[in-house]
Amino acid sequence: MTTYGAGAMTNSIPEIRDADFLLVIGSNTSEAHPIIAMEMKRAVRRGAKLAVADPRAIWMTEIADWHLQIQPGSDVWLLNAMAHVILEEGLEDREFIERNTEGFESVAETVRRYSPEEAETVTGVPAATIREVARAYATTPKAGIYYTLGITEHTTGTDNVYALSNLVLMTGHLGQRSAGLNPLRGQNNVQGANDAGATPVFYPGYQSALDPGVRRKFAEAWGVPQSDSPGLNLNQMMKAMDDGSIRGLYLMGEDIVISEPNVAHVEEAMNHLDFVVVQDIFFNESCRFADVVLPAACFAEKDGVFTNSDRRVQRVRKAVDAPGEARADWEILVEVMRRAGLEQPDYPSPAEVYDEMAALAPKFSGISYQRIEAEGGLQWPVPTADSPSTEYLHKGGVLRGKGLFQAVEYRAPAECADPEYPLVLSTGRTLYHYNAGTQTRRSAGPQLKQPEAFVEVHPRTARRLGLDDGALVDVVTRRGRVRCRAMYSRQVAKRVLWMPFHFPEARTNYLTNDAGDAVTGTGEYKVCAARLEPVAEQGPAEQRFRGAFAAAGAD
């Protein structure tokens, strides 16, 4: 966003198949984005080179030309070292840098200190591999970078993205088909929720809430003066709940008691609140703290749009009626606003809500339900009713005028392994389950393939602790203790553990670190120090574990 002027995938998903080089970093694509992985598989079948940087030997590494098995949290070292190689060998695109960017010199100076040889000692990736991948990336015109939460869920998340963006800018792999920088969004409408202004810093369409002119515009449109006091991001909200400055909470479709890092802390903070509303499709864990629970319709029961990873605005259509008295979230919100004294138009359907937003946000002004109906999904920016859908960004020049290089220095994760907690715990998603498990834990197939909470541990680490494959084990960090099944896995390095977070009966986020990135506030889900404590009496523990699993509502 800061560096190019737009926070989204620069390319489109169908362009992936035509790429000649793919760097997949911090993305377990075949499990978290299976359909994007199919496009990558297609590119590889065609002969594209694939480099996968991940602490685990994930499925994608099986078809990769290189697996850069990095130590969790060492991404900046790896990426700066790649930049080092590119500049050392003169593989940068001088013309692109000259014409389209600013701040190159400071990056050049910084990365000079990041030699691949030293990178090897920090990241664990052989210097020769770093050189090869850097060369392949720099010298392939259709080279795309794909990343997801493995890059952003760190205290250095923003730095990681800057380091990636530096690589893109110095090689000029931008503004063309199949070459760019692509964050793959983890949820159906992350892009759309950001687009719509559900973030403290932006009004709809990325118009800054800090800009008095923008605030005036929305004050006029809505007929209410706009606050000039800056809003809190999610991470800050959690801390403000704890210190008593937040007293009332409205939760729509989000189970923060299972999804936020360091949940024991979140639960305690929830107890301090004076008033909590939870609006959801299921009775989730957060409902335990609610004063009011409002039953919502699910996606199959309402109309609207979702905006996907490649900025594509697509329709959600009502297929069935919601159960009982459940209502669509948009209807509930309009009703609450009315009762709170803010007069609302009589929206016959979400189409008119969309029109209201589009009129206020130039990026989407040309998008309407009628156009989506006629043309299929539209990719923003679409500023006017005549402008076409935008397949890839930055064509014919970087959006913000000049792409901004940002020199970044390596900072260690907030918590590193130490004698007391000698292992590093990383977390993520699996193919079969989704987020808090509310939906997938109620489905037969996912439950059959992955019925229980587990931790991946390298067999050697496990054997040293006398831990059998499949035995119950306690994973312990400074914030909590969670019991789950040890799964021998050579996917993880010897000093690394990995856990999915889909299982309410073994809540991984009791363990994770809520230290946040300075800019985004995103918690460091991907790295914290941990140790394993084998469970002595497996028999009784096994019974309790199965009991907890049944009690957690899984059928």
């Binding site: 992350v190 009332g248 729509m252 609610a290 594509r312 209502r327 979230d329 919100l333 997938t440 197939g445």
Partner: protein
């Protein structure tokens, strides 16, 4: 780029020769649709079903349009006696290998084979082929049912599994009339590398691969209404067709729009296709709840619940100020709903404390 002078002729029309292009695709460019059964643009040509055979001048045998590359001065005929006779023969042959009666064959999904037969005609009903094609016993996977009596061994499913999903869980096994779809060691699907994407069901032209829950539900796809929507799991934005039994207000299954039409190119994953049990799950919230005096949550009317909501939020605001309120929305909800919640925070309550749950 192609040499402008390099041309071929298809049914009397001149077409430029493009490097590597097949007769099938060159014909499509000029609006001639050669029927195929075992072809899929996502896969390498297999030339297995022989339905797409066309006449190429100078070649003694007819050539499969899906696998034959065009070349300069080639003269192709995609219609006419010999080509059409072959088509009808091939269709009769395949029909003899599956369930001939269309309604029975289509008890679950549609059958492209029967559709083709209706469109192009057949060479009559042939006696059923005595095939000893077998299914795997004991495959108790919850989603994919293989019914060998419908299989025509076109290998679309195994090639899809190999080339698109790239897990190679299923494979063609045995020979001759026994040729069937199987797995290594005839394992149950859930014990293989299968990721339950269900692509084998979508590509099957006869309904041999079918969806188990839909089979149990018992209504053929033709009687269901398709509602085009967007998947609610990850950020790819796959387009899905919710197959609805209107009378029962029930989503029976989820299918993919045809390949080449949407961002997912005909593909879906296990979650998008199968993890929809939650829609009609008995645990769904069906009524508002309010915290009672005794601390328990009790069912309430919308009127009561909304009044309590507005009153509770107003009290926090009047006692501690607008910035003592926080609104957390979901990236699972729609764009409109996220727009409305930030409008609610900013306009109805006067705070910028609004954030959606995912920061990526």
């Amino acid at each position: 780029m192609s040499d402008p002078k390099s041309l071929l002729v298809i049914d009397g029309n001149e077409v430029d020769v493009r490097p590597g292009e097949t007769i099938l695709h060159a014909a499509r460019r000029i609006g001639i649709d050669i029927p195929t059964l075992c072809h899929d643009d996502r896969l390498d040509p297999a030339a297995a079903c022989r339905l797409c055979l066309v006449e190429v001048e100078g070649a003694r045998l007819m050539q499969p349009a899906c696998a034959t590359r065009t070349s300069s001065n080639m003269v192709v005929r995609t219609a006419g006696g010999r080509v059409e006779r072959n088509r009808r023969f091939i269709l009769s042959l395949h029909l003899a290998d599956t369930i001939q009666e269309r309604a029975v064959c289509e008890d679950n999904g549609p059958s492209r084979l029967h559709e083709m037969a209706e469109l192009h005609g057949t060479a009559g009903v042939w006696p059923a082929i005595e095939s000893e094609r077998a299914a795997r016993p004991d495959d108790d996977n919850p989603y994919v049912a293989f019914r060998p009596d419908r299989c025509i061994a076109c290998s679309l499913c195994t090639r899809y599994c190999d080339q698109v999903e790239a897990v190679s869980a299923i494979t063609m096994a045995a020979r001759g009339a026994r040729t069937t779809v199987s797995t290594a060691d005839r394992l149950a699907l859930t014990d293989t590398t299968c990721e339950l994407c269900g692509g084998c069901i979508d590509v099957c032209p006869t309904g041999a691969m079918s969806e188990r829950p839909a089979l149990v539900y018992g209504k053929p796809e033709a009687e269901l209404e398709k509602v085009r929507s967007t998947c609610n799991f990850c950020g790819v934005g796959c387009q899905v067709d919710l197959n609805v039994d209107r009378a029962a207000n029930h989503v029976v299954k989820v299918t993919s729009p045809p390949p080449g039409t949407t961002v997912n190119d005909g593909n879906l994953c296990v979650k998008g296709r199968f993890a929809n049990d939650f829609i009609h799950h008995e645990d769904r919230l069906t009524t508002p709840l309010i915290r009672a005096e005794d601390g328990s949550l009790q069912p309430a009317s919308w009127e009561e619940a909304l009044a309590r909501t507005v009153e509770g939020l107003a009290r926090v605001k009047s006692e501690h100020g607008a910035d003592a309120l926080a609104f957390i929305s979901s990236s699972r909800c729609t764009v409109e709903e996220n727009y409305l919640i930030q409008k609610m925070a900013r306009a109805a309550y006067g705070t910028h404390n609004v954030h959606q749950c995912a920061a990526t």
